[in-house]
């Protein structure tokens, strides 16, 4: 036997064919892809995007920035009033994040299908609570609370609280639904109440993840706090709005730079703490 001879081996040609998706499956997949592409083309057409204008914006942006916003008035953001506003924003995001996370824990417990204390009543209520706080954007929450409570930090904190309930509640519930059900079953079989099952079998499993999510929530809330301020919630965003209205462009650019810097610091800090928490298994 020479090396060039092929060995048919134990797998002879059976003459049978096989297709991965079958006729209807393949048709559905192709039709779906086609529909997505058609909708994309239609949306672009509808927007009437003019390619030459789009390319022109880059030079336009450069001209506007260099003429009006440069140099940023750094001295403005270094004064006591504005530094106080940064502190306000920090406090607002911390308070909103804290209250939001505390409210989100019971809501997440209610709205986790596997360990909810009542599938008929509390589960839909918990889901409704989380979904409705998510459904409304934080700017709209701010506008709502400003119209009820007036301008300032209280409205800002309330809006951020609602935002954090929706944000953390969803992530907490997902985490609870992914726990190992073994300990849950063991606690139930020992005659534990629903609260005891949650505290003894669920919390130890999600504690680390919850801490990470809580820190992440604060980080996201801090970013949202600048926008909340813009709509009347107080803090850095409020300064931004005032200066935009007064056409103080160099001050605006300084404020935007300060926001970018603060958000970066918050993100790096939260990432560092979360990495440390996750190591503490």
């Amino acid at each position: 036997m020479t090396m060039t001879e092929t060995n048919p081996g134990p797998a002879p040609d059976s003459g049978q064919t096989w297709s991965r998706y079958g006729a209807t499956g393949a048709a559905t997949r192709h039709a779906t892809l086609l529909a997505v592409l058609v909708f994309l083309g239609y949306s672009l057409h509808f927007l009437n995007v003019d390619l030459s204008r789009l390319l022109g914006t880059f030079s336009g942006v450069w001209r506007v920035v260099s003429d009006r916003y440069y140099p940023p008035e750094i001295a403005y953001v270094a004064n006591a009033g504005y530094l106080g506003a940064i502190l306000d924003t920090l406090q607002m995001s911390f308070l909103g994040g804290f209250i939001g996370v505390v409210c989100a824990i019971p809501l997440a417990w209610f709205s986790a299908w596997n360990v909810t204390p009542s599938r008929r009543i509390l589960f839909p209520l918990g889901r409704l609570g989380v979904i409705s706080s998510r459904a409304i954007h934080e700017t709209i929450w701010t506008i709502l609370f400003v119209s009820i409570l007036g301008f300032g930090m209280l409205a800002g904190v309330s809006a951020l609280t609602m935002f954090c309930i929706g944000f953390a509640g969803k992530l907490f519930a997902d985490e609870i639904e992914a726990v190992d059900m073994g300990p849950v079953e063991a606690m139930r079989s020992a005659g534990a109440s629903d609260l005891q099952v949650f505290v003894w079998a669920v919390v130890p499993q999600v504690r680390v993840a919850f801490t990470g999510i809580a820190i992440y929530t604060w980080d996201v809330a801090f970013r949202a706090a600048t926008v909340v301020g813009f709509f009347g919630g107080g803090g850095m965003g409020w300064y931004l709005k005032r200066n935009i209205q007064q056409l103080e462009n160099t001050k605006v650019s300084a404020i935007i730079l300060s926001i970018i810097a603060m958000v970066l610091i918050a993100e790096v800090f939260s990432g560092w703490v979360r990495a440390r928490v996750n190591r503490a298994k």
């Binding site: 079989s189 005659g191 534990a192």
Partner: protein, 250 residues
Amino acid sequence: MTVLKVRDLRIRYADNQPEILKGISFDVEDSDFMAIIGPSGAGKSTLIRCINRLVEPTSGSIELFGQDVLALKGTALRQLRRNVGMIFQEFNLINRMSVMDNVLSGRLGYTGNLRSLFRAFPQSDISRALALLDRVGLSDHVNKRADELSGGQRQRVGIARALMQQPKLLLLDEPTSALDPKISREVMGLIREIASELRVPALCNIHDVQLAKESCNRIIGLQDGYKKFDGETGTLRDRDLEEIYAMEVL
């Protein structure tokens, strides 16, 4: 005295699915250490979970300590459950808690919500937990985290936790299947010993037929949701085993 009476127990998880248990009836006496044997998928785990209502049967009746189990709700159900200790194949310990806390968690059914929130167990529970840990040979591991222990040690924690309930019946769901043959026999022997010391009857799922014959006085054979054998261990013949495991042999 008869502790447990099961009659015509049937269960299906959803309307469009086949029945898992197809009319099972049997009794457990207060002196029994009873094995339930059968191939995978015969319904052993489902059957044992119906007894303390971790799984809801579709029809039939279960009478435990003279109480109609299927009629119980809320607090009454929890009070029944705390009288039934359960030991699991995968131990089901709380990995991030200490051995001591795991054993104490067996008392949750007797402890109020507020006390259990702060893990403030009465002194009597603490001394009982330490005595049980001593009995299962884990005195040196009281403060270790549960996930630092070996498989055999973890199951000993599971045994101590179940005994914390001061159970009147033990449900054992494949208690040794996750352990190697030598440790399996040690753990089974320990459960057997303690059950007879405390005069607690037991109902034990097990797929190791040899181990079942060694440790149990009565055997029930399940196959595909039907009871195929019910009798003293000595009366189990090879012919019965062939029938119980027919599906696998084919």
